[in-house]
Structures are given as C-alpha cells and as structure tokens.
Symmetry: C3
Subunit: 218 residues, 3 copies
C-alpha cells in the first residue's frame, strides 16, 4: 500500500500540495482565456483532479479518489479563489508556481504508478498510468481551453520525459521489491529535478526526423 | 430511490424530455458547424447523454443508463432528424428551445445529484456530480465542435449557477431527510426559473478580480 | 466468445494490425501538427487504443484491454517510431495507409460490437459501441490536435456509415444466432469495401436539409 511508504498524513499532505499547484496552473489558464469565476474554478478542478480521475476509471477504483476525499475537491476551489483575487501576483511568482508544478509532476507520476500496480496492472502499464496521472489533468485543461495540449508541442520544455523517468524508477523499485519511502522519494525527486533542469536549460524533444533535417534554424 | 420521488413513468418522461431538448441544442450546433447528418446525430447523442454517462462512469453504474435504456438512445436521433429537416424553424423558436434547455438543466442537476447520493457519494460530491450531469453534455458538445465551452466563458448568461443552486437544494433535502416529490420538484423549478431569469436579464459571473478592475467598460 | 470466431492467435493478429494502422494515422497527424516525438507517440497511442478504451469503460471491462495486453500498448509505439523516421515515405504511401485504416475500421466495428454484446448490452447498444470502438480513437486524435473531428465534417468521405453497416451486420448475426467466422468475416469485409468505395468515389453524407437547398454549389 502507498500508505506504507509514507505515513498517511504525510502522503495526504503531499497529494494536496500536488493538487493545489496543478489547480493554480488551471486557474491561471482560465484567467488568461478570460473565463468567469466559475469557469476558472472548473478549470482548476479539472487540471488538478483529471489525471487521477482517468487513472481511477481505468483501474476500476470507483468512485475515484477525487469524489471520495473532500479535501481533494475543496483544494482546487481554494486555489481558484486565490488566483481570482491575486492573479497578477501569482503570475509574478510564475517561477514559484513552476517549481511547485514540477513537484506535483514528480509526486503524481510516482503515486499514480504505485496505485496502478496495487490494482494489479503490469509494470509497463503501471508506469504508463503514472505518466497519465501526472500529465492528464494538464491535457484536459488545454483541451477545455481549446488549445493544443502543451504536452504535445515541440516548442515546450520537456514535461513528459521527467514523469516517464520517475514512473520508470518507481516501476523498477516495484519489480525488484525495493520500494521504500527512500527509493520512492528518490524517484519523486529525480522527476522533479529533471523537470526543473528542462525548464532552466530549455530541453526539448526532437520532432519527426525528416522535418527536423530540412527545416532551417529559426 | 429516485423512483419513489415520482412514479417511474413520470420520471422517465421527464428524463426523455430533458434528453430531447439537450439533443436539439447539440444538433443545432452541428448544423451551425456545417456537419453532415451523421455528425449532427453524433453531436445530438453526445450532448444529450454525455453528462449522465460521465456521472455513471464515476459512480460505477455500468453499463450507463445511456446504454441500457433504448429510449434514451433513440430520443437524440429523433431530435437530430427534426433539426436536420426543420432547423430554420427550430432556430426561429430558439426561445422555446432555451426554455426547454433550462428545464433540462433543472431536471438533470437534481436527478444527477440524487442518483450519485444513492450510489454512496458524499453530499458535496453528489451535488458536484449533479452539476456535471447537467452541464457535462454541453461541454462535450463544444469540445467536439472545437469551440471554447460556453459554460466557461464570461460573456454567456449564467448557466452553472442555477444548476449549482438546484443541486445544493437537492443535497440539503437529502441531508435533512426531507426529499419528497414536492421538495425535489421545488429544486428543479428553482434551477429552471433562475436560468430563465439569467437569460432574460443577462446575468453574468464576474471574471478575475484585477482583470475586471483594470479593463475598460466595453 | 470472440475467441470462438477466430482462433485466438488469428484474432490477436487482426487486432494488432488494426491498432497498428490506426496508430499510423495518429502519428502522421502528430507530424503534421509539428509535435515532438513524445507528442507523436501519445497521439499514436490515443488514436489506436482510444475507441476500445471507451468501449471497455462503458461495459465495465476494467482494466481495459489496452492496459492488460502489452502488445496492444507497444504496437502504437512502433508505429510512431516508424512514422518519425520514415514519414515522407509513409505519406507517399498514403493510399496503402488508407486501405489499412479501412481494414482497421472493419475489424474494430465488428469486434467492438461482439464484445459489447458479450457483456450483456442490447443489440442496438452493441452496434453503437461497435461504431464507437471503430471511430472513437480518431475523434480523440482530432480533439487532441485541436481540430474539428474529421468524423463529423461533411466534406470528408463517408467513414461512420461503413462502420454502421458492419456493426449492424454483426448485430443481425447475433440476433439470428448465425455468428460464425464466415458471417463475421463478411461483416468486416463489407465495412472495409464500403469504406474503400467511399474514398474512391468520394461518397459524402448530406448536410441539414435547408442549408443544402439554399447554398450554391461550390
């Protein structure tokens, strides 16, 4: 059980932090798209809970955690409220938001992987669902905002790769039966740091081969 | 049980009416987007059944009602057929469509809330799923039509708020054990009337604080 | 059981072929939208597995086949890899891709219908889910690429209709208890050939009545 990795209250606190920072990214998108306060709240909820919701539907964990834990539901509303009243400040502290978002990415990819594995999925599939947990909410956010998902675009810093690394590390720990708070924490931190480095150095993934080779540098 | 609120046949009739009017809004969107008749039918189905489908997946009621009740499935096809042949008339009677859509909103938010509660969800979560039942189809309609969901836009009359009020009233009735055909009917009518008033007086929700205060009146 | 229709290995091979060609169409869309290699892989996965995933969630077959069969998961990655390195060639052989895609359409609409029926859905609903299995991945592909789903557009050759015919034939076989490898194969081939003919002769579905009658030929 995931609860054995960290004490339940620590785990819950980490989850809520991840939900909070993801919700802020959703709420900020709502502000940028000129949505009203309800639209901002909806986007905060979807961004924060969408990835875990998808995972829980796939593994058959219904009702999903998003609909059983009241704290998970209320946290995005608080984030939305904060953004509605303070959004120039939140945007000014975009760096801090990005750091927290990277932390959410690390937490969610590892926690999602472990939960999927607990529900009996294979190792590869568990890692895939861990990735989906971490990035799914952001994809839904962009779809609802009628934009091409940031995850898929080549002109954005690496986002999926750090989560893939974190999920893979978690799965290797499960495979070799060495999953402890230390090793899973290491997976979280690795994904977190990789994402920070990707943002700092603008690491990007290549595009399709022939396009890349024929397009001029711009 | 919901069936105890109204007689089963009355309940079913109300459901079918709600599905029908939501389907009309979906089919009209399909006409506006210049879709072919199959696209119009798909959009009618998705708009009418999408919200309930989402709710049923969340609460684990599979297969969802949309796939067990043949009437629920055929009704949107009839609505699509009607729109395909009569759409200038349907658009001319847009006022009537809006009134029915408001009725659908009221019916679905209350029925969705009660069904979620019956499946063991908490009060807040039940109200949230009631809201999702009422507005989910319209969001899917807009996503498939590649538009920003009308629900999220600040320049549209209040749509979520009437449903939130209706869901909340239903949840309070459940909480204080006073759910009867009269009280639940009252919740439906309240949401319905609020939506009508929102359309009549163009009630809108505020946007984010600082944006509103710095943007000139337009 | 579906496995009784074809030998399990034949059935699995057919599934993998269908997944492969759908994945190619997703990966090509990713190249066109200028996504990076991870975006291309995601789009390949979603296009290939999205329809079956939706079906499995609806009928309660969790975890869905896409998350239990490793071959189903890896096949789209291979397709994406191929497209990334060879995409001008893949585009040059667009005709071949279209033929395979038509084969995937035929296979998936029949296999989806039969699986839904096995899980206890009614005949009409089974046919509908068969259609959704065949076309769902393509719709998700277009939504993620931020385009109007090709399925819904009037200016595209018939795509849903061949799948509807195939699903209906499968359902009639189930209804009259004559489902054999021969009859189900006939349903697959019919859908396949109809799609090929629709592409060859640019068959299109009509739009809404009054629009069609008043718009000039263009």
């Amino acid at each position: 059980m995931l609860q054995q990795l960290f004490s339940p209250s620590v785990q819950h606190t980490l989850d809520v932090i991840g939900i909070f920072v993801f919700a802020i990214s959703g709420a900020l998108m709502g502000v940028r798209k000129n949505f009203d306060v309800f639209g901002i709240a909806v986007l905060a909820e979807v961004t924060a809970l969408g990835g875990g919701l998808f995972r829980d539907l796939i593994i058959g964990a219904v009702p999903p955690a998003a609909f059983t834990d009241l704290g998970y539901f209320i946290t995005p509303l608080l984030a939305a409220l904060m953004v509605v009243f303070l959004h120039p400040h939140v945007e000014r502290i975009q760096v801090a938001v990005n750091v927290f978002d990277a932390a959410g990415l690390g937490l969610f990819c590892v926690a999602g992987t472990i939960k999927a594995y607990e529900y009996g999925l294979g190792l590869t599939q568990s890692a895939t669902l861990g990735l989906a947990t971490a990035v799914g909410g952001g994809v839904l956010r962009d779809v609802l905002a009628n934009e091409v998902p940031s995850l898929l675009r080549w002109d954005r810093d690496l986002y999926a790769v750090p989560a893939i690394v974190g999920s893979t590390m978690a799965v290797l720990c499960l495979r070799y039966d060495v999953l402890t708070p230390v090793t899973s924490g290491l997976a979280v931190v690795t994904a977190f740091v990789l994402r920070l480095l990707a943002m700092k150095y603008h690491w990007r993934a290549p595009r399709a081969w022939n396009r890349r080779s024929t397009v001029r540098e711009e």
